[in-house]
């Protein structure tokens, strides 16, 4: 009995951790961008204020049930994904052992798509052409980055003969080599795909303000937007932790986790600051050129 309670408590704590870290990363991103742009920038906790405010806003828009489902799908997807990502080495923290099972990596790869699809359904319901176009772009782009990402994952899975994240972390701990060194091409592929996953410049065509307002979320305000933002920050944490777990040997304590994920997070952020955005077809061409090339190499590397 107690263990289940503790598990639930632990799960909630994990969600809070993911949410907090994700939010602070978002804030840090805004701060860093501001500094590069010669500005002071908002406080690091600005995203918290934004989200709380969004939750306190009234919501009075109704475009049918699917619109309400969209953000719910998104948050469900991100929370579910989070449940399968081991936060710390050794499988858990704060009484919480994650829902790890053999094959969770494959599950995660699909779970991550699920959120976007839910979003697409919800946004499609709003009838806003901006959303519709945004969704189309998002899905097209997803096709772009998902293939190299899956390739790199498959490369790892074949190389280390495990489909479990905890399994990979154990292997790394045993061998003492991070996977980013044992299969560098897979890492490069994954990082290049990650650029797309974060929807930061140059792959922010989905919600490019100058073109489609804010894309899929054009019609979402107030609580919905709050949900989207929370889901986004949890999802960011999920992605970063996954990458750290898979490529960088995981983290044995929170500080290590923060350092590693933050370092990883800086790649899309800093690249985003300096890049204009690709058009959809250019983005897909990009993903299907270098990342795919590296993905194939990584597969070959894994195979031989």
């Amino acid at each position: 009995m107690n263990t289940i309670l503790f598990e639930i408590l632990g799960a909630i704590a994990t969600i809070l951790l993911a949410f907090t870290v994700g939010m602070f990363y978002g804030g840090a991103r805004r701060k860093i961008i501001a500094r590069i742009q010669n500005r002071v920038g908002p406080p690091v906790y600005q995203n918290f204020i934004d989200v709380i405010k969004l939750y306190s806003k009234e919501t009075s828009i109704h475009h049918g049930a699917m619109q309400h489902m969209g953000p719910v799908f998104a948050i469900t997807a991100s929370v579910t994904s989070l449940m399968f990502v081991p936060v710390l080495n050794g499988g858990g923290w704060f009484w919480f052992d994650n829902l790890s099972f053999s094959g969770d990596l494959i599950f995660l790869v699909y779970m991550m798509v699920f959120g976007s699809l839910g979003m697409a359904l919800g946004a499609g319901q709003t009838g806003n052409p901006n959303s519709a176009i945004g969704v189309t772009r998002g899905l097209s782009q997803m096709v772009g980055y998902e293939i190299p990402f899956v390739m790199s994952m498959v490369a790892l899975m074949t190389q280390f003969h495990t489909t479990s994240i905890t399994g990979m972390m154990e292997i790394q701990a045993q061998s003492g080599t991070w996977m980013m060194f044992s299969n560098p091409f897979a890492f490069i592929t994954a990082v290049l795909a990650m650029l797309g996953m974060f929807h930061y410049s140059p792959f922010d065509i989905v919600h490019a303000p100058a073109e489609v307002a804010s894309g899929p979320v054009s019609e979402f305000g107030g609580k919905y937007l709050g949900l989207m933002m929370s889901s986004g920050s949890i999802f960011a944490f999920v992605k970063l932790t996954l990458f750290v777990n898979v490529f960088m040997g995981g983290a044995s304590n929170l500080i290590e986790l923060v350092v590693k994920t933050f370092a990883l997070y800086m790649i899309p952020v800093l690249y985003g600051v300096t890049s204009p955005r690709y058009r959809t077809e250019q983005a897909i061409t990009y993903f299907w050129k270098w990342p795919l090339f590296f993905g194939v190499i990584s597969l070959l590397w894994a195979a031989f």
């Binding site: 860093i32 500094r35 590069i36 010669n38 002071v40 920038g41 800093l270 300096t274």
Partner: protein
């Protein structure tokens, strides 16, 4: 583009180096405190320097500036030449173009560096500069200077005869503006109308100047004739107090209102032309008869407007020509005789009857006039010169200036000899001096006070100096010395004076003991003032019509103590100039009309 563009990926990353640099952001607490020295922020108006001309309100294309009356606690001057209104700016309209600053004639309206104001209440954006932001005084930024102002502070110079040329004849000294000059000069006017209040006659100055500026000279003349029947005379010799309060004059030279009037009248060279241009509406005869004594400015004015209003008007003039003092007291180089006669003959065309050479009390009795007319207007003016009050003034060659001028203007000759002294500092004195100068005399003016205290126009004084008239200020004549025959003047003795400042008044000349000087002269011309001659009033009327200190007492409507008798001109007012006389005549017309029509 190459297949793999490393440069294109790496070079943008150099920009990340900005991360380590200090942000350009200003701290919130210093934001907005370092505006440029010339920033155009809120207005600040120096309430004391402002004369309320309203030019700012006119130039504002947004209708943002209202002229409003402020509360009594601000002590806004209500003096003449100050409208007593102050600008109030609606910042819901203002666009900070600062044209109001650049057209402010006094330079009282300026902009400050202050520009921050936010409010939830849209009704709080109505500010009176200087009242709502008294601290603005220390934050002036976009200021009005004479150099940057859009006002033209320099008058178009009037062309004149050269000084040496002048003394040779009685030709008119001032040549008048030509069309181009007049337009340029007229366009300096800002049409505020402050001048009209000072003008005794309240002529419609901004209107006629504007008509000239727009090229409608005929309209200008029509507007002038609305309340002045002798504009050509005024255009030449008016004392033009209007120019003293001209808004432009605060920082520059006043608009040449007199010369512009002169320009407007010059288009009509004959009486017929005047009639053609002015083309006044003459009302049907109403059967009332009005008698007017004296064809001076006031009498003629009354006559003209009464005639226009349908009255039967008769003017009784003692002399051969109409015009009174303007005819006989002003030398011809300032006011040619033809000019005056032209204007008078226009009046006659309108229906004014003038009986010349008819001195009341001699050729015709006052009683007769009084009985035969429904109303009488007395405009006799000051004819009789004041005595100098020093020994020797009854000598043959000691002559009052008025008398001298009358003789010259009448065509009589009077030999002033080689050396002439004129006593006095008014216009008459200068006229006397300049006329004497035209007779090859060496003229000196003795005046009790300083040159700047002289009541005469500065232009006249300058003109006299150009004609080599020597002005000796601070000189008090004490006696005139006769020659051996005891009949003629030989010399004049005077004392030098020093100016002692007196509290609450202008400095007073005090003779310096032992400074007696004797100057040899041929003629002494006294010009210290004149008075009226009331000898025509028989005893019966002298009781009815109250005279006090040499002046007929009237109410504000020019009505004397006898309801049927009205008076105006020098004999009534103290200002003693033609325009006041005209104003009196004009006022009298209205009250005569009211008096008679009421019956």
């Amino acid at each position: 583009m190459s297949f793999f563009d490393l440069k294109g990926i790496v070079r943008p990353l150099i920009g990340l180096s900005q991360f380590g640099k200090n942000p350009h952001t200003k701290r919130l607490d210093v934001l907005g405190k370092d505006t440029a020295d010339r920033y155009r922020g809120f207005h600040y108006n120096d309430l004391e320097a402002c004369i309320g001309c309203g030019n700012c309100s006119t130039i504002c294309m947004n209708g943002a500036i209202d002229m409003v009356e402020l509360a009594a606690e601000f002590n806004i001057s209500q003096a003449k030449g100050n409208s007593g209104l102050r600008p109030r700016v609606d910042y819901g309209r203002c666009c900070w173009c600062a044209l109001c600053v650049d057209v402010c004639p006094t330079g009282s309206l300026n902009l400050t560096k202050e520009y921050n104001y936010v409010s939830p209440d849209p009704n709080t954006f109505l500010w009176t500069p200087g009242v709502d932001n008294p601290y603005g005084k220390d934050q002036l930024s976009f200021v009005s200077t004479k150099e940057t102002s859009l006002m033209t502070f320099d008058r178009v110079p009037m062309r004149e005869l050269d000084g040496t040329e002048r003394v040779k004849s009685f030709a008119e000294v001032v040549l008048g503006y030509n069309e181009e000059e007049a337009r340029a000069e007229a366009s300096r006017c800002i049409s505020c109308g402050l001048c009209t209040e000072v003008c005794p006659d309240h002529m419609h100055i901004p209107e006629y100047i504007n008509a000239i500026a727009r090229g409608n000279d005929q309209d200008a003349l029509r507007i002038i004739y609305d309340n002045n029947p002798l504009p050509e005379m005024c255009g030449k010799v008016c004392t033009r107090r209007c120019e003293d309060v001209c808004a432009i004059a605060v920082r520059g030279e006043a608009v040449a209102i007199r010369w512009l009037k002169r320009y407007a009248t010059e288009q009509a060279q004959t009486a017929d032309l005047i009639q053609e241009i002015v083309n006044p509406e003459i009302k049907e005869a109403n059967g009332y008869k009005v008698g007017i004594i004296g064809a001076g400015p006031s009498g003629l004015t009354a006559a003209y407007y009464l005639a226009l209003r349908g009255f039967d008007v008769t003017v009784f003039e003692a002399k051969q020509f109409a015009g009174g003092m303007t005819m006989y007291g002003i030398p011809k180089y300032r006011l040619p005789m033809d000019s005056l006669n032209k204007q008078v003959s226009y009046l006659q065309k309108i229906g004014v009857k003038i009986k010349f050479n008819t001195r009341v009390g001699k050729e015709i009795s006052f009683d007769e006039i009084y009985k035969n007319h429904d109303a009488v207007f007395i405009g006799i003016g000051f004819e009789k010169p004041w005595k100098l009050g020093i020994p020797g003034e009854d000598l043959e060659n000691a002559i009052p200036a008025v008398e001298y001028l009358r003789m010259i203007n009448d065509g009589e000759s009077y030999d002033v000899g080689k050396k002439v002294v004129v006593i006095g500092g008014g216009n008459v004195a200068i006229d006397g001096a300049r006329v004497a100068a035209r007779h090859d005399a060496d003229v000196t003016i003795l005046y009790r006070r300083r040159v700047e205290d002289m009541p005469a126009d500065w232009e006249e004084i300058e003109g006299a100096e150009d004609e080599h008239v020597h002005i000796h200020p601070q000189a008090i004549p004490i006696r005139i010395i006769a020659d051996k025959s005891g009949k003629k003047v030989k010399a004049i003795e005077y004392l030098e004076a020093e100016m002692i400042a007196e509290e609450g008044g202008r400095p007073r000349p005090v003779p310096i003991e032992g400074s007696e000087t004797i100057m040899e002269v041929d003629t002494v011309i006294g010009a210290i003032g004149q008075e009226a001659d009331y000898s025509f009033l028989t005893e019966e009327y002298a009781d009815k019509i109250e005279v006090n200190r040499g002046r007929i007492v009237t109410n504000a409507q020019q009505q004397t103590s006898d309801a049927k008798v009205f008076a105006g001109g020098d004999a009534v007012n103290k200002t003693a100039d033609a325009i006041s006389a005209i104003a009196d005549g004009f006022r009298a017309v209205k009250s005569i009309e009211a008096f008679l029509m009421k019956k």
